[in-house]
Amino acid sequence: MTTVVAPDEGLVRAAVDLVWSTMLFATVEPWPSGLDAALADGVRATIELQGDWNGRLALTCPAGLAGEIAGAMIGTAAADLSAEDVHDALGEVVNVVGGTVKGALGGELALGLPDVRPCAADEATDEATDGGFVLGWNGAPIHVQVLAGRP
């Protein structure tokens, strides 16, 4: 029997790095500790893992940055994209991060479908987590969280 523990920061960070380099042709950096990472108008993408470990991975970033992420993926200016395109792109990012984490964890795990929605200002930091960290890209924060248990 395989024992699966919650994905740790190193594993999730590696998955995010891989997605950024492969799908956005860019690199993310740790968010500077002295800089405010609060979100005024965020977009939150989550994906659920079920099986030997039950929980969710969540990526939350400002709406403007979500547009830049979508633009980098598609190779189009963010201003030319619809809200649907932006949500779809962020959903695919968390889907691939989740799939990469799932593959690295091993054990019996099933990946859910991504969920993307606008989030309240403090939602990215208020929910109890099994781990989380903040990355930065294009001068804006990306909150990455590991949320144990089912929603």
Partner: protein, 130 residues
């Protein structure tokens, strides 16, 4: 040559579609397996290639692969899974169900073209993509 892209992510369909168009494919899209079945049923000219995501609503990619393989009239369609499912067990399941190739997300454009080359389905290499 025609290619069918089956993925619930519109963005992924655009990304894969752009890469395929760059090497000469005419691309048709479907947002899930059931929609892809409808596309094939309505096709006067079958695609030579279908790039199929695994995790989709309505009908997932593995079920779609099984459905295509169940129909003798669709035997000419080459099936390539393009998915985040990276475990060896899942790859074996997909190949056993009838997929010809398997590409794990995230992937580079180069990796996609290499898979096409392996399948003998790279019509004209006009750029490396990314």
């Amino acid at each position: 040559m025609r290619a069918l892209i089956v993925d619930d992510s519109r963005v992924m369909r655009r990304i894969v579609g752009k890469l395929l168009e760059e090497v000469g494919y005419d691309v048709v899209e479907a947002g899930d397996g059931a929609e892809a079945v409808a596309v094939l049923e309505g096709s006067a000219e079958l695609p030579v290639l279908a790039c199929v995501d695994w995790n989709m609503p309505v009908m997932d990619g593995l079920t779609f692969v099984g459905e295509v393989r169940r129909r003798p009239e669709w035997r000419s369609v080459t099936l390539m899974m393009v998915t985040t499912e990276s475990e060896q067990e899942q790859i074996v399941r997909a190949l056993a169900a009838g997929a010809h190739e398997y590409l794990i997300k995230p992937f580079t454009g180069e990796a996609l073209l290499e898979k096409l080359d392996l399948l003998g389905l790279l019509p004209a290499r006009t750029g490396s993509g990314a």
